[in-house]
């Protein structure tokens, strides 16, 4: 069982992803994407969703006007998938769940 981040990016409608861990935030989004420089906001999101309360295994979906953030908090890191609102949400959740489980195993 091995899923790579490429599997996630291949899903039609997925713009990119963000991995937050400790104080580091790794943003992989097209340079002109509105969230490409939103490091602080993702740090705050990480603090709010993963640091204040542990939610391993949970999935948090944030629906914005034309974007969807699908957040996979885990014990020591958090994966956020940024996608269009027309994405196959169930497919994103499935792939994200597998990715975060793999990341957890590796750490």
């Amino acid at each position: 069982m091995k899923k790579s981040i490429k599997d996630l990016l291949k899903i039609p409608g997925v713009h990119g992803y963000v991995i937050s861990q400790d104080k580091r935030v790794q943003i992989k989004l097209p340079s002109k994407h509105p969230f490409a420089g939103a490091k602080e906001q993702f740090q705050e999101l990480y603090a709010a969703l993963a640091l204040t309360q542990q939610r391993p295994g949970n999935i948090v979906e944030i629906f914005l006007e034309d974007l969807t953030l699908t957040v996979f908090p885990n014990t020591d890191r958090m994966l956020t998938v940024v996608s269009s609102s027309q994405v196959n949400q169930a497919f994103v959740r499935m792939t994200g769940k597998l990715l975060i489980a793999d990341m957890n195993k590796e750490s």
Partner: protein, 271 residues
């Protein structure tokens, strides 16, 4: 056919009704229903002269009817039986029925329903046991398939009498409640659509949770209102995701998700 007394057995149980009809020196038929079961008690000027409940008649039928705690009753005036099966004083009948109710209340704390299915206890303690013939008769029919009510019918006893026998057998540690009786009893072979997606889904879920998988697929798809023949990626993904969330073992759940995401991906690539 005139009716003049009717009501609910939850509020007034059979011995009380018998007492009222006896004091009023009534003649007629007391008709009782409890779900699909029915019974009759005939009175002649306040004396109980005949009773019938299923295949039981006489006092056995009265004792069976006495313990019913739900259902309805109606008294039909002046209806008389073809014969008499009871020749007992009213006090004796009332004392015995009250006694039966007390016993039944105790039995139902351990055996709440006659639809329960029992199986033989495999780890029986070594000791001397003496069973009466009627207990042996009931025990010989315990097979993890038949309910108490079905066994009662087979051995020709009343349901309440059979429940009392089962109470003793449970207390003796000879039988125990069969696991997942509802699933066994209600199990019907599930036929899923013969399409590649459902076939793969079924195989992956069987690996995760065993042969119950087709039943679960059918149930979840009904719950979610998903057409199993639908070809939309959204519906397929939703079904997979929900099914994975019902797999108790996390490792198996992820394995199932992994297999099915690969399947979906390959399917998406082909189409």
């Amino acid at each position: 056919m005139k009716q003049d007394i009717s009501g609910d057995l939850e509020n007034t149980r059979c011995p009380e009704i018998i007492k009222i009809l006896s004091l009023g020196k009534r003649t007629g038929r007391l008709f009782l229903t409890n779900g699909a079961e029915t019974g009759n008690i005939f009175f002649n000027e306040g004396h109980v002269i005949h009773a019938q409940c299923g295949s039981l008649s006489g006092t056995k039928a009265i004792y069976e009817l006495a313990v019913w705690t739900s259902g309805e009753y109606r008294f039909h005036v002046d209806e008389v039986p073809h014969g008499t099966t009871i020749d007992m004083g009213m006090e004796e009948i009332l004392a015995e029925t009250t006694n039966r109710i007390r016993q039944m209340d105790k039995v139902t704390t351990l055996i709440p329903s006659s639809s329960i299915v029992y199986t033989l206890e495999p780890d029986i303690r070594e000791r001397d046991l003496q069973l009466k013939s009627f207990q042996w008769k009931a025990l010989a029919n315990v097979d993890a398939k038949k309910s108490i009510a079905e066994i009662a019918q087979l051995i020709g006893y009343g349901v309440s009498d059979t429940m009392r026998i089962f109470y003793t057998l449970v207390k003796l540690g000879l039988i125990k409640e069969a696991v997942q009786t509802e699933v066994h009893r209600g199990f019907q072979p599930v036929i899923l659509p013969d399409v590649p997606f459902i076939e793969s889904l079924k195989m992956a879920l069987i690996k995760a949770i065993g042969p119950i998988a087709p039943v679960i697929i059918m149930e979840i798809s009904r719950e979610m209102g998903i057409d199993l023949l639908s070809d939309t990626m959204e519906q397929k993904a939703s079904l997979i995701e929900t099914l994975s969330s019902r797999i108790p073992d996390e490792r198996m759940s992820l394995k199932f998700l992994d297999d099915m995401t690969d399947w979906l991906k390959a399917d998406g690539d082909h189409s």
